[in-house]
Symmetry: D3
Subunit: 314 residues, 6 copies
């Protein structure tokens, strides 16, 4: 069997379970109601139309419901669509569980947490260490389950922590290659840079933007919170200003949401490491679903490029 | 007599007092030391070279020293320069005072303060009113003397308060013309929008940027402080988020330093009112020194345009 | 009852009169003809499909016809659509009139005209006054009914005059706050700036662009006409050139259609006042239809932003 | 002997006549007055400093004076400068004339005029022909001596007429290659496109911009005048609008000063032909002064590029 | 009879032969399969839906099949669509041939070839001549049938050779008008500039991009091949580098795919001539299908402009 | 003693040896000749004026001459300048050597070479390995001494090889963190990406751009050479095209000189690794000369930013 819906091609018959991500009612040109379902498993999503939907269908097929569905994968206006042959809610006797249909990071929460703890333990600068430790303690629970974004990259359970730990790994290697780097500063920047997303996004499953997320954004919110934590811990000194600057500048340019560009060496590196890990995440997941000799779908967050997967091996 | 150095033309003889803004030592191509003086009064600045400067000259002619100077206004590489005929430090018997040579706002501090108090008094929303009142109390002293910027517009003593009050006047008229406006929100936005400059700039005379000013900037610093003040006052609710948004977005675009563009009606208005008052300040001061039928100097902060002063009267 | 179609939400039943703005015939996927109707009243527009339309329907339901219609407001591809339950032409006995279904300015023509007259009366510069008076006389009839644009802002009956008078109100207040302003020049600029639209647009109801509008545009057309009027009135002097410059530069930048940027103080102000009134018009109308706590639709002419309507009151 | 100053290299001795383009008085660092002379002949310009200038020197060496000068070509801050060995006013007995030191088009006025007349004679559309003929008659005198610009290309006596005739030659060939072209329209566009420069520029020798040139610009001025001429000739119809559009759009883009881009085939061609002739004029003149194997100076109006002159022959 | 599908308007009945360019299966909202056909003749393309398509229909109506079709031209979402009344495959007895339905250049291959030969024969520089001759010999067959692009301009049989020869004609005239031009260099640049398209595109009918076309592009591929040919012919010297530069820079700017802008006079001209011929090709073909007094469709490759076709004649 | 000229501040006295990088003659305003010397050691450069230079001075003080010089570091127009107290050519008895005054990479040639050999040895794909090995063999000598650029980063002896090896180190770590990477491809891309500089630059000491460097650039030159080498080695297959693409796209965007953006995962990574190493090289060298609490000079190749060096330690 295929790994999941993300691996099916046009013309193939899908016949397994998926989770309903959203269900929207519409009226067809013949005047009859229908449901537009977005279905997903851990490998991707697909749209399906349930024509001539009855009121019972509307009751049964709602968001978060696990369903058994069979149908043919078609193409409609350049996007895949599942033409439904049969659909029914999953039963307890089917032995399937909603949580197995939600994508999550490939590393367990416990391991991510222990990696974070280890890095914080290595820090030598007490001001930086105390601030970072305080944040991890305050947000530990959410940090370990939140996605890093609503789309594009690491947009799955534990995505934020996984992105953070991947970046820490790169940071650690760069410190080895360029010993001039202030490792405490760089690690702290990596750990704090996207923590504001815990307040920018509404939650873990189907996250949307909060009002403060829309009107302020995660970067200024996190700058504010670093200041507040430093006051609580009674820490003064350049470390606070520079940590705020690391977060503030990590998008690299004003046009990309950073009112100040990186003006400290470690801030510049933080921006570059963030780029590498976000791009590798997007590329690896897109290329995994692509056959050698083909191009990926267009990747919106990578300037809408399609990437080629070469035929030859290493 | 002319009003001041800003009104002298090439070829004219200046013979009065000015304040030394800066004095820098150099070595001429004949190997002799000289002093480059920047001299100013309330109407402008001019450069002058004191050739073959003695060690005594270096002692006498330093920054902040008031001097009696006579000389001819020349042109050098497209800028005015004063060719010194005679120079001496001012004496107590001259009856001139340094403070009369520093530009300041055309309205007195007391009047600016009473206008601010009056507006705050009119506010109906208690959350907004309390936050604004708290800020005015905390910063009253600095607010009444700080400039609004280091150059371009309102870059003089009390410039920030004068800019604020001018904008309040416009805001009040617009409220009358467009009654849908939430006046409390708009007034609060006007009062708070540039308060972060008190921390971004180093002081009143010859201000430079603080480290936090360079690495964070007045906008995120003020967003943080609004959050902090709200916590101190135990104010919760949308007012806090929206006041932070007003400050955050008042530069209008990401490229201009606002990570979020205005997304509330009053935030959009705040941005436009700020533009009007800053531009009118630059234009009026440049045109005051320009004869009818001439163009002003190029105004850097207005896309480097020169403006024409028509010959005809109203 | 609701104020009009602009205030109905998805799922609600509309049952009242609207005017047909346009009716287009199509062929459905079952091969049967249908009519796409755009219906409107003073608060907005909505699309409706009349399926299986008979030749009689095509006769009855044409542009400018007033109809009684009932149906349910649905969502189709992100836009509202009315699912028709019943439709019939309005009868004389219904006591409704087409003119009541066309949006128009909230101020009467007579009042707009008297405000214009009053301002012209105040002008002191005879050259400026004569030119403006001549234009008002020449175009009075059209000026009082034309819209200011085909979409985005003031796109309704008397929109141009209303926009002009609103801008004059702002201009008058700014003159009070900044007495250096040449009021005659600014008022004249406001009155003349968009008059070229009378030749750029084809008419009042359902205006489109004329050939000259498309190939020349209202700005150069108006520059030409000012020159022509000055020759007729035998007025020479800088006033003519400067009035032409005011009109030419009022879009502010070459990219926005002004081959010269504002180079006179009052031209810069004219551009800013135009921005304020156009934006307030768009914002107020969009926010009027939005509930507190919600965002408006995206506003194309405001960089596609959605604006938030706060929950709290002044 | 060298052809002129444009062909001298650093280190060479110049010893011939040149015309003083401008003379400006300055004061050297030793307090002595000096004159900065800009000298020119038909091949170029050079700066020279006349140190320790006496009042008699100031009298003798003024703008428009022809002088005999010898000196060495030096380099100063990357630009050529003539180190004066000797200088004196030219005498009648020298047998040299100011007019031979002013650059002018390589074709005589009479020939340019006869070429224009010939083209107008060929026109078939009476409306277009009458308008063009009227303009040529009205402006014949100026058209035949004005430059096409103050710098960059065709900035010499008869430059405008020469540029016009060169463009007509290209237009004629393109008509032969693409017979669909409306030749009358294209020829008329070529002849009228830059005529507004007669009002934008102040004169032939040392032209500057007029007030109308600065505030309105040659494009809208010419659009206005075409309208005015058509009214005088009582010509109505699309030809007038399209001729105005040709002039209006000939800079190609809003950013380059055309509020409408070309929207008629011949307008698009006019823009391209203008580009070709302006660029060939700049390139040929720069390359003429460059040795094979070298690069030209940077050409500001060609994106600041330096062009290479190959070593090989055709 | 009309010249072809490109000349039919909405509401007219088409009843003749067309070639199927593509046929795609879909499923209608009633669950029945249908075919989306793209049909074409030499004047244009049109979409048609064959509803309720049987398996036999799918067999019969495939890409490259010539069909007899009748139907009404409708409008659907702003684009033309043919509502099919009847359709059948063409029969031998119909006396029509697929090749007559494919657009090709208006000049025969033999004539294009003889024009190329003639130009090469005129070249004086032996290095340039040998390189160009070698290329023409190597690619003669493909060059004479390939299109110049997959869309926008000269996208038909022999389009590349026709585009080349048209550009040579312009080049020849410009050489006559500007004798300083190195004709050999310019002609060689014209002939070689787009030859890389023979490797960038997959073929003549329905061309797509090759892998090398997508990853390298025709410009660097051709630069490489000129180097390779020069080595084969044992030609050294500046001619090789400059020919490579001509090809490399002919798109004019880095943003348009030329890593170096034109830095040789003839390279600048090549870019301009390419612009002229490509634009005239697009404009003439669009205007041919447009009635006087109307605007063309939007032309994507001309900044999405619609062009006006005047009512008056030359 | 200080490490070198790069570590001296204004006001300090320098008294040691430096190498003359360039010596240019000029004429002072008093008419006397002088020499402008650019002096350097491994830590930086400084300008000095030798006033009233004799013909003997001109003989003695030429480019590449080692001199003993003492003087005071001054500031002139914002840049450091050495005011010469005494200067003389170095003598054999001084025991100093020109090569010790030229900056070079901090790693020896032999070590760089062995690191390259090691990486090539690890490659598994024979096609890639053979191509890379061939290039290293062909260019070994130059590769080990050339700089990576004429300014900005790695602009010293062995800079190209050092930059390459640093990038290989990063690449190796990323392969460990993201095992999906095709290491052969990434390593080959790193080794080849800038090899074209050996032909773009004229040499090791005081490199300038070759004609081909100016007209073609190192990127297309290297794309060509990869094709040529593959033909010589009779290697066909996707590896060649993809290696060419890696080199072609490594600047990341068309505006930055890559006609195709990265379209293969390893090409994207190559671009990012290049950015990291170039930026770290610039930052580390600038920060080494900066005191904690200060900002670096503006770094042109990093968007003209000045970077802050924090006061605190790790």
């Amino acid at each position: 069997m295929k790994k999941g819906i993300g691996f099916y091609n046009v013309g193939e018959i899908f016949d397994y379970f998926m989770l309903i991500k959203s269900a929207t009612k519409g009226v067809a040109s013949n005047g009859k109601p229908f449901l537009t379902l977005i279905l997903k498993d851990v490998t991707g999503e697909i749209e399906a139309k349930l024509w001539e939907a009855t009121p019972e269908d509307e009751e049964l097929f709602q968001s978060e419901q696990l369903v058994k569905i069979s149908g043919e994968v078609n193409q409609y206006r350049g996007r895949s669509q599942l033409k439904i042959h049969a659909i029914r809610p999953a039963q307890p006797t089917d032995g399937v569980h909603a949580k197995d249909f939600i994508e999550k990071a490939p590393v367990e929460k416990e391991e991510l947490m222990s990696r974070l703890t280890e890095i914080i333990f290595e820090m030598k600068n007490p001001n930086i260490q105390r601030i970072v430790r305080y944040f991890i303690k305050r947000y530990q629970e959410d940090l370990l389950v939140y996605p890093a974004a609503v789309k594009n990259h690491h947009e799955y359970v534990s995505g934020l922590a996984y992105h953070t730990v991947s970046m820490l790994n790169i940071a650690k290697e760069l410190k080895r290659l360029y010993p001039e780097i202030n490792a405490d500063l760089l690690y702290a920047g990596v750990i704090l840079h996207d923590l504001g997303k815990l307040k920018e996004l509404s939650g873990v499953t189907a996250p949307s933007y909060t009002l403060a997320g829309k009107l302020i954004g995660h970067i200024p919110m996190m700058v504010e919170e670093i200041g507040q934590v430093a006051r609580e811990l009674e820490i003064e000194g350049e470390e606070v200003t520079i940590l705020q600057h690391m977060v503030l500048s990590h998008h690299g340019k004003a046009e990309w949401g950073s009112p100040k560009p990186p003006l400290v060496r470690e801030a510049e590196l933080l921006h570059l490491i963030d780029l590498i890990d976000a791009k590798m995440n997007m590329l690896n997941r897109a290329l995994e679903k692509t056959k050698p000799g083909d191009f990926t779908d267009r990747l919106f967050a990578m300037d809408n490029r399609s990437f080629y997967k070469p035929l030859f091996e290493e």
